[in-house]
């Protein structure tokens, strides 16, 4: 089905198994793979070659989409260490953090009543981005020193920001529609 299901994504891209990834190197390797394997390179060939090309490209695409995204990469790294988590059922146990998250959700909900919702939204997005990047660097340190429990907790917390960001995007879309 794929190039070699046992090969891990980092190995495939010639990167060391760490959270910090040189995105330039990653992107340029990715393009090299595409150039060699993409189905468009095989239009005149046998069905068999086309099929295998689709499978290989799909595998490379999947690996790339994981490695280039912070949260997905964090998740994947934890999986490699058998410290995987189920985003749907598990959550952080840091009570203070959870309180802060509830507040954040309330602030998103209250956006509609702000005098200038657009500006308030931008401000909030900025704050969340800041907090998110702090968590990302925390994960990176924790993972690097092998503290998997702490790293897993940070990854679980990052999940919250994913949701907050989605909510903000939905709000923004509603605002756009109201402008019509």
């Amino acid at each position: 089905m794929n190039i070699d299901p046992t090969r891990n994504y980092f190995e495939l891209f010639g990167l060391s198994e760490s959270f910090d990834v040189d995105q330039e190197v990653l992107a340029s390797k990715y393009r090299a793979f595409q150039s060699a394997l993409h189905p468009d390179r095989f239009t005149g060939k046998s069905d068999q070659e086309q099929r295998i090309s689709v499978q290989h490209t799909a595998f490379v695409n999947e690996a790339y989409s994981v490695l280039k995204n912070d949260l997905k990469r964090a998740h994947y790294l934890l999986g490699l260490q058998d410290a995987e988590f189920d985003a749907d059922t598990e959550t952080s146990r840091d009570a203070e953090f959870l309180m802060q998250q509830m507040e954040s959700h309330e602030r998103v909900a209250e956006l509609d009543h702000a005098p200038d919702p657009g500006a308030a939204l931008e401000q909030l997005a900025c704050e969340f981005k800041q907090q998110q990047s702090e968590l990302i660097s925390r994960f990176s340190t924790e993972y690097a020193r092998g503290d998997l429990d702490a790293a897993k907790d940070s990854a679980l917390k990052l999940q919250f920001y994913e949701r907050l960001t989605n909510q903000l995007r939905e709000k923004q879309e509603k605002l756009d529609e109201q402008l019509l």
């Binding site: 089905m1 794929n2 190039i3 070699d4 495939l12 891209f13 010639g14 992107a27 340029s28 390797k29 393009r31 090299a32 793979f33 595409q34 150039s35 060699a36 394997l37 993409h38 189905p39 468009d40 390179r41 095989f42 239009t43 005149g44 060939k45 046998s46 069905d47 068999q48 070659e49 295998i52 090309s53 689709v54 499978q55 290989h56 490209t57 799909a58 595998f59 695409n61 999947e62 790339y64 989409s65 995007r169 923004q172 879309e173 756009d176 529609e177 402008l179 019509l180």
Partner: protein, 626 residues
């Protein structure tokens, strides 16, 4: 600019022979065919010198099927047998029609589910068959002009088309006897036509407002690779809406109601359309219209009034632009080029709104009607292998998320929209009853949480699961989306390794066997023709397989295969060569399968070797040139 070198095994193997290829813009309103001749991509005119083929098909009892301008001319006197804008119902279900029917003056056959059929004097037809009639005309035009059979075509589709709509387009091509190299998003084709792939790097926005659809795509070019960052749009917004708004205005001004009078309505729509088009170069225009003895209309439409009528639609397109830019993570000011596509972008106030949003005048020096077909032709030429120097690679994305139905009518996402394709994702399912041997998976496409708000694509019945206690079977279902954006599904039980068989029931489209049957029916009166055609087709594929294998073996057999493996391939090869000499297409087909089976490991090894070469990382640095 840095270019990526194509590497083995993608390189063309045989000394190159020119293969005829064409690009087809299968539009809602108009269709065109283009091809690269002497290095230049141009649209191909018919015998009268006209490039544009109106996407209109008329079915008659005496004169068979008429396509294009001649069909359009008869639209008013034979409205129910003259089918226009069928692209709107491609891949749509009978249920979907409820929302569209007001716009389409056809008589649909009363039916429960399935592909909707339109009643004509020549019997019921589907949108797939109607589209194939348009494609046949374009195919004939191209083959006469280019002087030979087409090796393959690139057909463009709105970036927003879902799986069912793409599949329907491919089925129409198959019915028209065309080999589809690739389905290409219309906006991507437009960017190719402008040669942006050879220009500086950066972000491009393509704004396409045609007769029936609106599309906005945000593309990024880096190091010779095009990526579609995001796409958005509305499959039911375009010049037709403007025509209807003007028609409603005309009737209101005249104090009339068209009621069920299809003929009169067509006349009003045609008057509206020509008024609209003449406002491109004038501040106001006259509308004159007669119908029967009673009705005489004379009106004056100003540009201002026209703008008032269409502004809500244009604002909607601008909102889509913002949304799509946001999804791409791009600010309007970061966009390097804006391309205008589609006849409706000639309207001055459309251009004004677009210019305002992006803070720059859009590119429009290629005819907005021809730009998509031109780009498709260039891509077809590359895919045919006719321009070995070109290393352009188009990376495309999935336009709408794919998911499966879970408990409580909710959707569980499997592949997010805007994921680069091809892509493969696996998901595990388990049995919930003891001894359960079958399972049904319902695949939907769309962004909403509830199943009923998404489009149902297909149900997959998995059978042959080994009986176990509830929850013990782990069925790994693999969802694969190919480079055309089309989904296929396979399944395997993990502990036993038994592969469950998957039967696809498309919710809207035709099953493979239905397409085959239609193909057969169309050859009904020419059985010998069909056999001859099948034989020729098999011989062509056989030659292709043999040739590709020959050169690959010459290069790599000793490195990658043991003597025993070489012998096995050699034997299968000889069998295929023998089969080719005979006149039995089925025998050739089987021999191909056998040879492909025998050389499976070889092909895999070669592909893996390219993977290793890229991994070692010579390639990019080695071939980068300035």
């Amino acid at each position: 600019m840095a270019l990526l070198q194509i590497s083995e095994p993608g390189q063309s193997t045989a000394p190159h022979e020119h293969r005829l290829a064409a690009g087809i813009d299968l539009g809602t309103t108009n269709s065109l065919v283009a091809s690269v001749r002497s290095g230049v991509a141009e649209t191909l005119p018919d015998a009268e010198g006209t490039d544009i083929l109106p996407s209109v098909v008329r079915y008659t009892l005496e004169d068979g099927v008429m396509v294009g301008a001649c069909a359009l001319e008869q639209a008013t006197c034979d409205p129910l047998n003259t089918l226009a804008s069928v692209k709107r119902i491609m891949g749509r279900s009978v249920d979907d029609l409820a929302t569209l029917q007001g716009y389409l003056p056809y008589q649909f056959v009363d039916q429960e589910g399935g592909v909707p059929q339109i009643q004509t004097v020549a019997g019921p037809v589907t949108s797939i068959e109607v589209s194939s009639e348009i494609l046949k005309v374009l195919r004939t035009r191209a083959e006469l002009t280019l002087g030979g059979e087409l090796a393959g075509v690139v057909i463009t589709v709105p970036a927003y088309f879902d799986d069912a709509q793409r599949q329907a387009t491919k089925d129409a091509a198959k019915l028209a006897g065309l080999n589809v190299f690739r389905l290409l998003n219309e906006p991507t084709a437009a960017a190719v036509a402008y040669g942006l792939d050879r220009q500086a790097e950066g972000v491009t926005a393509v704004y396409d407002l045609g007769g029936g659809t609106f599309d906005i795509s945000i593309l990024r070019l880096t190091k010779g690779v095009f990526e579609v960052l995001s796409t958005g749009g509305d499959t039911a917004l375009g010049g037709d809406d403007f025509d209807r708004e003007i028609s409603a205005w005309i009737l209101q001004q005249a104090g009339l109601d068209a009621g069920q009078d299809h003929q009169f309505m067509r006349k009003v729509l045609q008057a509206a359309r020509s008024a609209k088009e003449s406002l491109t170069n004038a501040d106001e225009t006259e509308i004159r219209l007669e119908h029967g003895d009673q009705i005489r209309i004379e009106l004056r439409l100003t540009g201002e009034q026209f703008e008032r009528l269409i502004t809500p639609y244009i604002k909607k397109t601008i909102a889509w632009c913002r949304k799509t830019l946001r999804e791409a993570g791009v600010e309007p000011s970061e966009v390097r080029h804006v391309i205008m596509v589609g006849g409706s972008t000639r309207i001055p106030c459309v251009r004004r709104h677009v210019e305002e949003l992006f803070g720059q005048p859009p590119l429009s020096d290629i005819d907005p009607d021809k730009v998509v077909a031109t780009g498709a032709a260039q891509q077809a030429d590359i895919l045919a292998g006719n321009s070995p120097g070109s290393d352009m690679l188009l990376l495309d994305v999935l336009p709408l998320s794919l998911g499966v139905e879970t408990m409580g009518n909710l959707v569980s996402r499997i592949v997010e929209r805007n994921t680069v394709i091809p892509v493969v994702r696996a998901q595990e399912f388990t049995t919930f009853k003891d001894g359960q041997t079958a399972m049904r998976i319902h695949v939907v496409q769309g962004e909403r949480e509830k199943v009923e708000d998404c489009r149902s694509l297909a149900t997959f019945d998995l059978t042959g699961i080994p009986p176990m206690v509830a929850g013990a079977a782990h069925i790994r279902v693999t969802f694969q989306v190919d480079a055309d954006g089309l989904l296929s599904v396979s399944a395997q039980e993990k502990t036993s390794g038994v592969s469950a068989s998957v039967e696809v029931k498309p919710s809207y489209g035709l099953t493979d066997s239905e397409v085959e049957k239609m193909l057969k029916d169309s050859f009904e009166h020419a059985k010998d023709d069909m056999h001859a055609k099948q034989l020729a087709e098999q011989q062509v594929s056989a030659r292709r397989v043999l040739e590709a294998l020959r050169s690959a073996l010459e290069k790599d057999a000793d490195e990658l295969l043991s003597a025993q493996e070489q012998q096995a391939i050699g034997q299968a090869r000889a069998e295929l060569e023998d089969a080719c000499e005979g006149g039995d297409s089925e025998q050739i087909k089987q021999a191909i399968v056998k040879l492909e089976h025998a050389s499976e490991t070889f092909v895999e090894r070669r592909m893996n070797r390219s993977v290793r070469q890229v991994m070692r990382g010579h390639r990019v640095e080695e071939f980068e040139q300035d």
